[in-house]
Each structure stands twice: as C-alpha cells, then as structure tokens.
Amino acid sequence: MKNKKHITCDITVIGAGFAGMVAAARASALGLKTVQVGNSSQLYFASGLFDFLGVYPLHSRTVLQDPLTGLSLLQKEMPEHPYSKTSLEAILKSFDFLARFLQSTGLNYIKPDKENRSVLTSAGTFKPTCMIPETISKGCLLKNDTNLLLVDFKGLKGFCAGQIADVLKKNYPNILTLSVGVPGGNGNLNPAYFATMFEDSSFLKEIATQISPFSDKVELMGMPAVCGINKSLDALTRLEKMTGLDIFEIPMMPPSIPGLRLKNAFEKKLAENNVHFLSQAKIKSPQFNGSEFILNAVNQNMETQIKSRGVILATGRFQGSGLHAQRGCIKETVFDLPVYQPDKRSLWHHLDFFEKQGHMINTAGVETDNVFRPVDTDGTVVYENLYAIGSILARNDWIRLKSGSGVSALSAFTAVNDFYKKNAAGDIDVSD
C-alpha cells in the first residue's frame, strides 16, 4: 500500500509544460486553489520565444510579417483551428497577461507588436515569432548592412559563429566572427552550467576583454543564448556596458536556456502563489462524480487523491506523452478522450521530413468547443469542467504554423477564465 494523501482544490492542471504553466499561473492569479501535476522539464525544450502565427498558408510557405492578416485567413480557411474559436483580442490579452506575470518574476519580455519579429537562430535561419525576451530583442535591429559581430564560445557544442556568418553571408555581408576562449576550461561546455558563469562579474570581465577590441568595428553583437539564468537581463546589460556594444542572444537547440529561465520563473512564482505541484506524478483512473473530479496522482511512493472541480488537461502531444501512438492508432492518455487523427498510419507522416504541408500526425489531437472543452465525435462536451489546452489540441500543426505558444497561452487563458466565470466568480468580468 502506498502512502495516501488527500487534497481538495478548485482546479487541477495536468501537465507542466508551457501551456500547463500558463494555466496554473492564470488560475493562481485568479485566486483559485490550484494543483499542478507533471514534469516541468519539458520547458527545457521551449525556445523561450512566444510565437503567434509565423507561417500561413503552409503550402506557399508564406512567412508572415503581419500575423493578423494570416490569422484572418486562417480563421476563414480552418474553422476547426484553435485560433478560429476566439478573437484576436483574447489572444493579445493572454499574451499581455503572460508578459505581466513573467515581469513580476523578473523575466522581461517585449510585448507583442503588430508585426512578427524575425529572430536569428543558431542554424543561421530566421524564426518568425511574436513576443520575445528582452535579451534577444536587439537581434531584431539587424539590418542587411549592419556591422555585426557573432561570438561563439570554444567548447559550446552546436553553436558556431562562422556557420551563422557563412549562411547569412549573401544577405548580410558585414559579419565578423569571434571564437571566445572560456576562462577556466576550454573543453566541453554544457549550456546550463555555462549560463550560470555569466552571473559572475569577474567572468563577465574576462569575456568582455576578449570582445572589446571589436567594439569600434561593429555596432551589434550576437552570442548564444547562455547569458545567465536567473538574472539574464542584468548579466547582458553588464556585458553591454563593459563592451560598449548592443548585444542580443541567439537561441540554440535544447536544452534551451531561455526555456530554463521560463521554467525557473514559472516554478518560483507558482510556488509563491501556493500552487501545489506534484512533480513527475501520473494521473491514474480519473473519475467524475457529477460535481467534481477525483484524480489519483500516483508516483513511486505516494498516491495523492485530488478532488477537484475543474481539470485542465495540458499534457502535450507525443513528446509530453499527452498523446500516445500505438502502431495503429493514437490515444489520449489520461481521460481516453476521442482523438482526431488520420485514418491510418501510412498517412501519419510524409516521406519528406521537410514537407511543406507538414505531417498529418501533427494535426492529431483533442477537439474542443469554443472554450476548449473536449468534445465527443458528435460535438457534445465530454465533461463540463474539463478543458484541454496547449499542443494537445487538434488541427494545430504548431511546428509548421509557428503557433505553439500562442495557442497554448490563448487556450490556457480562455479555459481558466471560463472555468472561473462559471464556477467561482459569478458574472464578474475576468478578462483582465
């Protein structure tokens, strides 16, 4: 027999990825007693950039400068898409909430603009995105004739300034590169540990002395996104002062430091807001007794019975194990909800990895009503107070559309607001 524990709460968020975190943030901000279950390490995979809608339509691979035109087209053409369930204002509001929430933890984001921003990645490509951390923001100042210095660090795998420069050479001819030797080790640097070194002022000074010779040759400097974890902006500003350059970070492949910053910020603030977090627990045999959900959060040593009026399902897709693909079909793992999916496995994936329309399997997921409550095949709501948010939502190929964070934030925000409106607040307006 495992040790048993009982918790009663207003709302349970299953999942601790980006969407789950936003939901828990919103719920706790509204004063709901919140329990969160999941594995927050998924945020190590988050780029830390909040996309809204980057590419639409897919077949023409149109990179959107102005997401709003794309959105209206998408809402017209894809009425089932999560974005089509709500308005532009709601999306902007959810981003706004998110920005304020993160600001309260000391993580500054540049609020959404009318235009998408292009963020340089470590592959030398540009990623269209909407809301970005302040440490990355100066990269948007990059123009074709900018004198740019790209810095990499010896031993930091997967990031080569020369590579980015070579790839960009055609359009950005004035790029200089510099490989900085890291004081106290020239070998194998792991980003998370390396990032902490930037919070040390003596380390910053040594880095700065290597960069300073370039300060009158260039106006802008790009470096891998490893500049500090908990005080990233502070570290970056200090480095800027020492070198006299405008500096921006370039996101690289996971484990991503901007993602880690998000993780820390969410975790800290949510714990302060008294969100009860059950790390790595799994929900087994959830039940609904007519008025509340009874969820068994099981982990190795304990079984926590959660009685909760509402449930937010933010378990993600395959990587987050919200969906599980067997050889023949795709299942939802917690409530066994109906999953919208291609008819057979041969349709799941295209032969070309970079197929422009994207792989069909990425549209699989849970279908919902307008407030993100999962619906049955015939369109009826499965449970009154069960919401599905984030990447588990069907018909949203967020990887291709570059719409991951937007859909997550929007659905989380809408779902929690809806729950609050119906269950706690009466008819108070919760739009703020």
Partner: protein
C-alpha cells in the same frame, strides 16, 4: 506527541550542537523524544550494496514499530534513505521477503506502517507554521539568510514527497516567521558536496565554494541548514577560512528557531548556540 528520535550516525560525534538544539527545540514544542538503539540509516551502504542499505533502514523501522512510534530525524540524508528504503521494500517482493526473514531472526517485524518525518516537514505539516508563530516570543534581528535545502529530502520527489523539488518553500516559510529574512539564491536546492567528501575532497570543496560564491552574490549573512551532513560540510575547517573571508557563516535551523522560541534554561549548550546567533 511522542516520536522515536533518529539522530543518524554523525550527529553525536561531529555535530553535538545540532543534537542538543534539536532536543531543546522539541522540548519547547512539547514533543517527547524516545531514543532507540537505531543503527545506520543505510545511506552510506548505497554505494556498496543496495540490499544492505535497504535492510539497514528497514531494521530501524522495525525497531520503531516495536514501540509503535513514528520516526523523526534532523538529518536529510537519513530521511531520504528511510523513505527510499520503505519504497523499495514495498515494491520489491523478493527483497521484502529476504528482509522479513532477517528481521525475524532478531525477533523483529515491520508492516510498513511506521512513518518517517524530517524536522522541517514535521514542523510544517504536523505542527504548523501558525502554531509555531504563536509560540515565538523572541523576534530575531533581520538578518539575511539563504537556505540549503539538502538533496536527499527533496529528491527524488516521487519517493520523498518532501516539497516541490524545483521551487521548495517550507524552509523559507519556517525561517521567515522567526524574524530572519530569507533571500533568494540560485543554489538552494543544489548539493553541498558532502557525499563525496571522503572520496573526492577536491571536487567536494569546489562545489561548496561555488555555493558560497553564489550565496555571497545574494548578499546573505548566513547559510542555514537543516541537515547533519550539510552542516558538517559547511563546518569543514579548511572551508571555514573561506567563510570568514566572505563573512558568511553556516547556521543550524534548530538554533534559529530555538532562539526565537526563547532561551532555554536547562540546556546550556543550546543556549550558547542561540546566543552566538543573535
């Protein structure tokens, strides 16, 4: 309330202060401590034999069960190991059988009912922050404290269930009621380095040094521990020189709370500990 006091191997010889202040604290909170002939919690044996380590813990549980007592320990390492062993004992049928046989040889048995509490989780869950706050009669000066959580209580969360493993709060809340103020630092949940002190002292101290630097950046006056091993690590002599350089000293949580609960008349040593702090 009556609990079996599990001091762990090190406290008696290396950290008598912790022992006395812990006892004095428990006395003030009206908790009776019973001393049983406990053996090692089994943590050190994790390196050499899984079976041995589990058995060591289970034997302690069986001892406490004999007197129908739950276990309380001030050591995070012991706490973690006891939790871990109880989990393994329950999950692993073959292991359980073997353990049960060995216990029977000594006329002992265990049914899995004994609970183990760490000082902090006991204060937080069983006594309650508000209850303690009521008893505080001595407001301590506003000093800045950073907390050293101690790995083995915190992780793996799915076994210990101590507190949110990524953003724990218990320790801070318990300190903040005393008047001391906790400040944030990046390394509160990281290891102190003690587990490899014997084998790789160099690395062990390097880790400790990085912690001290981070604590300094946060502007703390003291590092507060609630674990025998962490405190022993911070007490390391070669390291203390550096502490003095940075002007940060390690303090035991029991000293802080003990001081906040008023001076104890009986216990001289505990009194001294409190005084040093204020």
């Amino acid at each position: 309330m009556k609990l079996a006091y599990f001091p762990g191997c090190k406290i008696d010889f290396y950290l008598k202060d912790y022992d006395t202040s812990f006892k004095s604290l428990m006395e003030k909170l009206e908790v009776d401590l019973v001393q049983l002939p406990f053996n090692c919690c089994g943590y050190p044996a994790r390196s050499t034999s899984f079976e041995v380590s589990v058995f060591s813990s289970i034997r302690n549980f069986a001892l406490a069960r004999k007197y129908n007592l739950d276990i309380i320990t001030p050591c995070k390492c012991c706490f973690g190991q006891l939790k871990y062993a109880s989990y393994q004992w329950r999950e692993n049928k073959g292991l359980k059988q073997k353990m049960d046989c060995l216990l029977a040889d000594e006329n002992l048995f265990w049914d899995g009912k004994t609970k183990v509490k760490h000082l902090l989780s006991f204060l937080y869950n069983d006594i309650g922050v508000l209850e303690i706050k009521k008893k505080i009669n001595h407001k301590l000066p506003e000093k800045k404290i950073v907390t050293q959580y101690g790995c083995h209580a915190l992780r793996p969360f799915t076994i210990t269930g101590f507190d949110n493993p990524h953003a724990p709060r218990i320790f801070e809340e318990l300190i903040n009621i005393t008047g001391f103020k906790t400040v944030e630092w990046s390394k509160s949940t990281e290891c102190c380095g003690n587990p490899i002190y014997e084998t790789n002292k160099n690395l062990s101290l390097k880790i400790l040094d990085s912690k001290l630097k981070a604590a300094l950046e946060s502007g703390a006056d003291h590092i507060c521990t609630a674990c025998t091993h962490c405190q022993i690590q911070y007490n390391d002599l070669s390291f203390q020189k550096q502490c003095r350089k940075y002007n940060i000293t390690p303090v035991l949580f029991t000293h802080i709370l003990d001081a906040a609960l008023g001076e104890s008349r009986k216990n001289n040593q505990a009194k001294k500990g409190c005084r040093n702090l204020i």
